[in-house]
């Protein structure tokens, strides 16, 4: 894919195959011989982890679909049957449910890494945008999957999210009715969500192929953000990164297994073990943890349509990020001021997630009543969400465009190899590689 290929067919069969369908060549060029920057750190292992997450969700999901019944009268019972009666059904379901959370943990790590090292900048804009498309598809898939068990949270989550589209002027009501296939979330809604939940992972897989294709055209970014200059800057993907990714995957799987086997419901919500009742909404309705920051943005805005637009805007802004960040320096390593703003951005995202899980009127500092600012106490989750949401948008729309024009970045190394060879620690005492250059 990177132009030339070093693949040499070894057997007669491989030669025969190579002139008809060069699939072994494709695999060799992309997974074995692919030149990869030699300085990738562990933040770069999440791509491989994500590929595995997708695989786990596909396999466990296909198995669950063999036992699940997408009907309002049977859905909840069929999930309980999977848990109690189907052989290893509990294991497969817990893998699938926790797998969704693991998938999001990995995708957030992957995205923050891209933000930190400037992996979205030219020439990787499309690579980044394809990643945003995958993220959007993941969110749609996860939301629809959460509806399928038809518990209280499933049902009322579906009601709230589909009603978001009702905020659109004029067409809103028709769109929600169209999404529901009725006048409320009901059997037709559950049925189509099941169908789409089965479809979307395959769409994700398709976009993942495009994502990897784009990656293999531009090559990996790396922690210095400096483009690969020569062969000396790279190592072959195999065995260097197959082993590194393999180790990271093993560690990640330990955490995954800890959730599946020891606290399988820690990331879920007990209300979802109550069968759906359209006539009673649970007192405290929250989405799954990975949606909480966006939920906090939605609730921070007192106007329904504006809240919905800002929530979708929080994702939309990611798509145009390559053109918002005006700096030509990719890696935050060489942008000390912007790096500080980046870390505040990470905190703002966490704060939004924290607020999304609490009631809007709750005090941030317990028991401290301050003063009423417009519609709520200043010391309330709603105001904390507003400050964090303002920073979230401010980071993309003000800080990144302005910093690129005003800051003085540190000097970047000339190549990936240079800081390694020029660093004093790289030179063994009294054994300089090139003594003629010694002062």
């Amino acid at each position: 894919m990177s132009g030339h290929s070093n693949y040499v067919p070894k057997t007669g069969f491989e030669r025969w195959l190579d002139t008809r369908l060069p699939i072994a060549r494709l695999a060799y060029d992309s997974l074995v011989d692919f030149p990869t920057p030699k300085n990738l750190n562990y933040w770069y292992t999440f791509g491989g982890i994500l590929a595995l997450c997708l695989g786990i969700q596909l396999v466990s999901g296909i198995v669950l679909a063999m036992h699940y019944v997408p009907h309002v009268d049977h859905a909840f019972a069929s999930v309980e049957r999977i848990m109690r009666d189907v052989n290893y059904g509990w294991l497969v379901r817990y893998m699938h449910a926790n797998g969704a959370s693991m998938f999001f943990i990995a995708v957030y790590a992957h995205m923050f890494r891209g933000l930190y090292y400037g992996s979205y900048k030219a020439p990787r804009e499309l690579l980044w945008i394809l990643g945003c498309v995958i993220y959007l598809l993941m969110m749609a898939t996860a939301f629809m999957g959460y509806v399928l068990p038809w518990g209280q949270m499933s049902f009322h989550g579906a009601v709230v999210i589909t009603n978001l589209f009702g905020a659109l002027p004029l067409v809103g009501q028709s769109i929600t009715t169209w999404l529901w296939g009725g006048f409320a979330v009901d059997n037709s809604t559950l049925n189509r969500f099941f169908s789409l939940h089965y479809l979307m992972p395959f769409m994700i897989a398709g976009v993942v192929i495009l994502h990897i294709w784009a990656l293999h055209v531009t090559g990996n970014n790396n922690p210095t953000g400096v483009q690969v200059k020569s062969k000396a800057d790279t190592v072959p993907f195999h065995p260097y990164y197959t082993v590194k990714d393999g180790f990271a995957i093993s560690v990640f799987m330990l955490m995954f297994a800890a959730f599946v086997f020891f606290t399988p419901n820690a990331l879920g919500h007990p209300d979802n073990y109550v069968p759906a009742n359209p006539l009673v909404t649970p007192a405290h309705i929250v989405p799954e943890w990975y949606f909480l920051p966006f939920y906090a943005i939605l609730r921070a805005v007192p106007d329904k349509l504006m809240g919905v637009l800002l929530m979708f805007g929080a994702i939309a802004v990611l798509f145009v990020l390559p053109w918002l960040d005006t700096s030509r320096v990719r890696s935050m390593r060489y942008r000390p001021t912007t790096r500080m703003y980046f870390f505040i951005f990470v905190v703002a995202c966490l704060v939004l997630g924290f607020c999304g899980g609490r009631l809007p009127d709750e005090y941030v500092i317990p028991g401290l009543k301050t003063f009423q600012l417009l519609d709520a106490d200043l010391n309330s989750m709603v105001w904390l969400s507003r400050f964090a949401a303002a920073y979230y948008f401010g980071y993309f729309l003000i800080i990144l465009p302005v910093m690129g024009l005003t800051e003085n970045p540190l000097s970047q190394p000339k190549s990936i190899s240079e800081p390694v060879f020029s660093h004093s620690a790289a030179l063994p005492v009294g054994a300089a590689a090139s003594p003629e250059k010694r002062g």
Partner: protein, 184 residues
């Protein structure tokens, strides 16, 4: 037909600068293909709208004698909760008193019940914010309160505080007799 499309400079048309007969065929074929694609796409879009049997189940009748004064009954109509509230004199008085208050979605109490039937309030029980089911007796205005995002409705089901944009919706309904209503 060809003459009207060819125009004055048929020789230019060969370069694609001016409309020629060939361009016409390309455009006509493209439009026909688009039209055909849209025609085929529509059934696939429209199949997601409510089906015939869903539409057929669209009305219910309800016997009001089951609801005591000061009680509410929630029934299911079109898959949504429907509140049927037998209002007390105090609730009606408070609703009428607030007719002149600053309302987000102005409406008199009179307009929200059938003439002469002020004690019967029939509402669709989904919050106009994002569709949760409000509970009666909570909130600052003696009516309904939505637990999801904190919308307060008064005893006439009008929005008074919180993120919801409009009053609780009054469905189409009629009194078949003094004690039976038909909704939908």
């Amino acid at each position: 037909m060809a003459d009207s499309v060819t125009g004055a400079n048929p020789e230019h048309g060969e370069d694609g600068d001016d409309p020629s007969r060939r361009d016409f065929i390309h455009i006509a074929a493209g439009v026909a293909a688009l039209g055909a694609a849209a025609t085929v796409a529509w059934p696939f879009v429209d199949q997601m709208n409510p089906a015939g049997d869903t539409l057929a189940l669209a009305s219910v009748e309800f016997d009001l004698t089951k609801v005591q004064l000061g009680q509410s009954v929630t029934i299911k109509w079109r898959g949504k909760p429907l509140f049927i509230r037998h209002r007390t004199g105090a609730e009606i008085a408070s609703a009428i008193k607030d007719d002149k208050a600053a309302l987000r979605d102005p409406s008199t109490d009179e307009a929200r019940h059938k003439a002469g039937k002020a004690e019967w309030l029939v509402l669709i029980g989904t919050c106009t914010h994002l569709g949760c089911v409000p509970t009666f007796g909570g909130g600052d205005y003696g009516g309904w309160f939505c637990p999801c995002h904190g919308s307060h409705y008064d005893t006439s089901g009008r929005i008074r505080k919180g993120p919801a944009p409009t009053n609780l919706e009054v469905p189409d309904y009629a009194f078949l007799s003094d004690t039976v209503v038909k909704v939908g």
